[in-house]
């Protein structure tokens, strides 16, 4: 035993504790590791992560990789490696502390090494009895008791107290309404909404304000963006050819479903298997377009079966990520290295989706099965045409002998015309790719290293073995899978989905790794809160608006997002939630926000995607001139970003830090680069929005300070402060002088954008105020939800 090797270990335990406490306090690590040294070791949060990271690769679930036939991920096997209560007498402890290179675990060639602190934790854990627990995410959800009116605040404040912290004061009301408005609708509050809320002194003012935003149409659009990212939605196939598809009726269905507050279990089940529901409605079938949003590869020389297998894998993996929070894709080629998922599990999940009749051939963007989704006008025209065709056929059939009857010829002509019209109408009606199962089941196989041409054993549709099985009498198809996801016995769906919802409002999940709640995911910062929320979501009948209302009415959410040195050093990521969260808006929201502040945002919902402003030549350059960008016009230019045409090989240039819409992504990107500054400062969208805003404000003929105040209210939702007024007034004088000297510059500046500059306002004045508005739209505060 090499105790001497680790000086810390030879200390008396009290000294050790004193030595460790400051160490723990300054470490920039998730708060789960901030547990006090005098609390018993928590196996799930403190020990399993160490074992998983350092040992499971060779002593874990993957049978092929396993060394010495030892598993440390299974209780019975692991317990053979130590003597509970006596670390010094335990093989496990001896091996991780050994001086002997041949004995030492993990071995040097693994590139893994335990820290002294990790060794100490394992030592203490063994000495405390070496209790074993199942990985937290796989355990049944028990709704913890709450001794307070607001459960969220109860759990968060508990944790804060443990860390000698307290809530920050509430943010001021102007900040709050902007925060809620952006979080719930993706748009800033209008001046009316702002005034209404600031004037409302009733005790329910805040709750009522929240309800107004939850009821807004913009809510569905805001929620849908995240879902579209996860569902890898795009308006083209991707790859060579990159043909246009018409999946946008599915996108509109998603927006509508959110606005209708369709319970999340139905929302999910329709999308996964709406076609298999008894007497499936058009909407339920349309919803299954979700599975078909994957890219389609039309590259010459591709082998269709290889494509088809790729698509089915994509469907299975998307489901695994979105509802189960598991990294199933690891098991394409081998058993999982960390979670108890086998390659057989993977292909058994794959088998649910393998029954679709898609072939993988070519780059057809409407490859069957498809459903035609006419809009109302098209539906009416279609019925009319069908009626008139039926009538004509009737008339013709009543004529008797055709040959010598001139009326017959006439009817034939008419019939032909009407049928042509119907055909041409049918071509215009969007076809949405949806799901169906083949009447004759396809056999599915485990594929060697994921290769379509190397089938191994046959597999049958079933859920992963480590999770509760499908009900005994269930037919193992997509519908059963979709229903099983929401079975009370399945602990993953509620945890995974509520965690993602939380991340939307705090910028980071209770489990930071929203895409992975498996063994290698990060443990939750607030495990009880996560379970309470998960249970509440389920018990509420999967009422998404209810959950959002709960979250945003909490004291936790309403805190000011100001920070200070102590909080910054102790908890830079704000995992303990001792302050409100503050983060840059996603790029799509920055654009929508600017359009809304300009007053020009078009609030129509749904429909064909539009081509908004984009530097010329981007599509052309990506496609060797095959795809020509036709800039939209009029209202099309000012619609919300969710309606902007998404070409997979050349995504809209104004969108940055977004999911790439190639595969399912539930991770939020938030970087801060000079390229972003260039786009919000120089893109037509922002320059024109600035001019429109300036025009709107100047028309009111207010004093300069009043105009500035109004601009601030429109953009950052608060009155301007005197020092800010001073800076901007001086800037105005300067800019005006510059434009007086360069009148041509002022003119050309005002010509940017499709809309003509207002003739009412004198050129130099309008140009100066436009450049001012452009600067205000680029304030950190304008780009940030705080």
């Amino acid at each position: 035993m090499s105790v001497g090797f680790f000086p810390l270990l030879s200390m008396p335990s009290k000294t050790l504790r004193q030595a460790l406490v400051p160490l723990l306090l300054v470490m920039r690590i998730p708060c789960c590791a901030m547990a006090q040294a005098n609390q018993p070791i928590d196996f799930s949060n403190q020990i399993r992560p160490i074992l998983s990271e350092n040992c499971f690769f060779c002593h874990g679930p993957d049978a092929k990789q396993r060394q010495s036939d030892l598993r440390l991920d299974v209780e019975a096997d692991a317990k053979r490696t130590f003597k509970a209560g006596d670390a010094e007498a335990s093989e496990l402890f001896a091996r991780i502390t050994s001086d002997d290179i041949d004995e030492r675990m993990p071995p040097p060639e693994s590139n893994r090494q335990l820290t002294r602190q990790q060794i100490t934790l394992i030592q203490r854990w063994i000495n405390e009895g070496g209790t074993w627990e199942q990985h937290w995410a796989y355990t049944r959800i028990a709704k913890p008791d709450v001794e307070a009116t607001h459960a969220i605040d109860f759990f968060v404040s508990q944790k804060l107290k443990q860390n000698n912290l307290d809530f920050s004061p509430a943010a001021d009301r102007a900040t709050l309404i902007r925060r809620v408005s952006l979080d719930l609708t993706g748009l800033p509050p209008t001046l009316d909404q702002l005034d209404e809320f600031l004037a409302d002194r009733s005790p329910e003012a805040y709750e009522n304000m929240v309800d107004r935003f939850l009821a807004a149409d913009a809510y569905g659009e805001r929620m849908a963006w995240i879902w579209l990212d996860a569902a890898r939605y795009a308006d083209t196939n991707g790859y060579q050819g990159d043909n246009e598809r018409t999946m946008w009726p599915w996108r509109d269905w998603v927006i509508q479903a959110y606005n209708d507050n369709l319970p999340f279990d139905q929302f999910s089940q329709w999308q996964l298997a709406g076609d298999l529901l008894p007497d499936a409605t058009q909407a339920q079938i349309l919803a299954t377009g979700f599975n078909r949003n994957h890219p389609i590869n039309g590259e010459g020389g591709r082998i269709p079966e290889e494509n088809r297998v790729d698509y089915v894998m994509d469907m299975a993996e998307t489901t695994g990520t979105l509802w189960l929070g598991l990294t199933f894709n690891c098991c394409r080629c081998h058993d999982h290295k960390y979670d108890q998922l086998t390659q057989d599990d993977y292909y058994s999940l794959f088998a649910f989706f393998d029954q679709t009749p898609i072939t993988g051939e070519g780059g057809n963007a409407q490859s069957p099965p498809v459903i035609a989704i006419p809009d109302q006008t098209q539906q009416e025209r279609k019925s009319n045409l069908e009626n008139s065709i039926a009538k004509l056929i009737d008339q013709r059939n009543q004529l008797g002998e055709p040959d010598d009857n001139p009326r017959f010829q006439e009817l034939e002509e008419q019939l032909k015309t009407e049928q042509e019209k119907l055909k041409s109408l049918d071509r215009q009606i969007p076809k949405v790719m949806v799901m169906a199962d083949m009447p004759e089941p396809r056999k599915s196989y485990r594929l060697n290293r994921g290769s379509y041409q190397q089938p191994l054993n046959e597999v049958f549709a079933r859920v992963p073995e480590m999770l509760p099985p499908l009900p005994e009498n269930a037919k193992a198809n997509r519908l059963a899978l979709a229903q099983w996801l929401f079975d009370p016995s399945n602990p993953l769906t509620p945890r995974v989905t509520v965690n993602r919802l939380w991340a939307q409002f705090f910028g980071i999940g209770i489990v930071k790794t929203t895409e992975n709640l498996g063994v290698q995911g990060e443990p939750p910062s607030h495990p009880e809160l996560l379970d309470w929320l998960a249970a509440e979501y389920r018990d509420s009948g999967w009422d998404t608006k209810h959950m959002i209302r709960l979250i945003v009415t909490s004291q936790t959410y309403r805190q000011s997002s100001k920070t200070n040195q102590r909080l910054q050093e102790l908890d830079p990521e704000n995992r303990l939630l001792a302050r409100g969260s503050r983060f840059r808006m996603p790029s799509w929201m920055i654009r929508d926000h600017a359009l809304a502040a300009s007053g020009r945002l078009v609030r129509a919902i749904g429909g064909k995607p539009v081509n908004s402003y984009q530097p010329s030549g981007v599509w052309e350059e990506s496609s060797f001139g095959n795809k020509k960008y036709q800039l939209g016009s009029g209202d099309e230019l000012y619609r919300r970003s969710i309606y902007t045409f998404w070409r997979r090989i050349a995504a809209p240039t104004i969108i940055f830090d977004n999911a790439d819409r190639m595969t399912c992504s539930v991770t939020t990107y938030r970087t801060n680069t000079p390229l972003h500054a260039l786009s919000t400062f120089n893109d037509v969208t922002f320059v024109e929005a600035s001019r429109l805003m300036a025009t709107d404000v100047l028309r009111l003929k207010l004093s300069e300070p009043e105009s500035l105040d109004l601009i601030f209210k429109r953009v950052v939702g608060r009155p301007i402060r005197p020092d800010e007024t001073q800076i901007l007034l001086a800037a105005l004088v300067r800019t005006r002088n510059q434009y007086c000297r360069e009148l041509e510059s002022a003119k050309s500046f005002l010509e940017i954008g499709e809309s003509p500059a207002s003739g009412e306002i004198e050129t130099v004045t309008l140009a100066s105020w436009t450049s001012l508005c452009l600067a205000v739209l680029n304030l950190d505060e304008a780009l940030t939800r705080q």
């Binding site: 060579q240 790794t513 290698q520 830079p572 790439d660 801060n672 000079p674 390229l675 800076i727």
Partner: protein
Amino acid sequence: MNQHPSIQLHATRREFFGRTANGIGAAALANMLAQTGLALDPGNRPHSGNPGADPTQGARLGGLPGLPHFAPKARRVIALIQNGAPSHADLFDWKPELAKMHGQPVPEHFIAGKRFSTMTGQADGKLMLAPIEPFKQRGRSGAWVSDMLPYTASIADELTFVKGMHTDAVNHAPAISFLLSGAQIPGRPSLGSWMNYGIGSEVEDLPNFIVMTSVSKNTTCGQIFYDFYWGNGFLPSKHQGVKFRGSGDPVLYLSNPSGMSRQMRRDWLDDLAQLNQRQLDDFGDPEIATRIAQYEMAFKMQASVPALIDLSDEPQSVLDMYGPGVEEPGTFAHNCLLARRLAERGVGFTQLMHAGWDQHNSLTTEFYTQCRDTDQASAALVMDLKQRGMLDDTLVIWGGEFGRTPFIQGEFNNRARWGRDHHPYAYTMWMAGAGLKPGLSYGQTDELAMNVVHDPVHIHDFQATILHLLGINHEKLTYRFQGRQFRLTDVHGRVVHELIA
């Protein structure tokens, strides 16, 4: 406070960083700046970005502590990626036996159990096709290069030929993705992203990972430059390659709006910084400091990028070296010259991609155009770097995503439509500079250039070697995603030390 890195970085904005906002410690700010890739390593000087100043000595933005793992041979990489897959049997891999077997069916044992694209389907009975132009041994090294590439042939002694390349993928997009990101499926970080993430940047007013694309005029090639070829994958998106465009602003949104002069922009930036500083004082969020810095960086880029692409300071002799089209934006020659200018400025990873090498039925036609449009400039780049003393620490790589079948695609009696199909089992790439063995031809294929028989170099080996030259242990540059540590070479890769002097 005088040691604060941001002061060195943003001398003009000294006042904003001179104060500590709301008591945020310098350490916290520095840490945050490091996370956003802005901080310089302590003790290092920033590089001005001007050619002439020596960017060598150490200044780095971002990067990981402890990297490079060991002294690098290469400080920067220029990758000349030839999309579509140049035919190794026609350019570098001379096989007299193949010439002899011209028109005879491929011997069965060469193709047993092999998978080809659907365009070939079953390879049985396909006829062998001799190289379409003669080969010669070149220079002192005696490396074989076809007459198709006279300029490359003339510098053969500078090049290191890797003749035993092989890959897993059989179609373009997956194979290029494999070459550049180590995985056939899009979504992993590309080489340049890994380098930027691990090593950081020596240049502050230009992106450190730059991509330029080109295609020969009038080619029938329809291959697309997918942005995942320079994608950041799961790395933070600031590590994504920045694509310079062939027309309009080289960087999207680079130019000020018309009617907004540089002076006006400067003035507004100062106002904006003042207003943001108030916000920083009030909220204490270090992200605000980063935002101020990034707007400054954007302003600098607005000057440095136009200076970069302004070739008026290049003497005619240099322009001539790169050949016709060098002054025409969007050509391969132009991009090669820009690559040299980027290297001078300290840019770490420049990725050129030239499409059109997919000779399914154009071996006797477009193949000539491809060679003509890339040969001279590729060779010029190597020699230009050499004459400036930069080849020693610049790695240049040249090649495609796989090879082409030594047997024919198309009708043997229709010479105008001769072609070769995709061939992942063997091909050639060349490398130059960065302490490699010049003149070496490493690896060998069988007598028909069909399979590697000696010293194979798999894509992952190739990648491990590139990282090694950059001072990176490919097994240790990892990023945690979805619960596991990912790396460029997955769980594979061998550094090919035999290539290194």
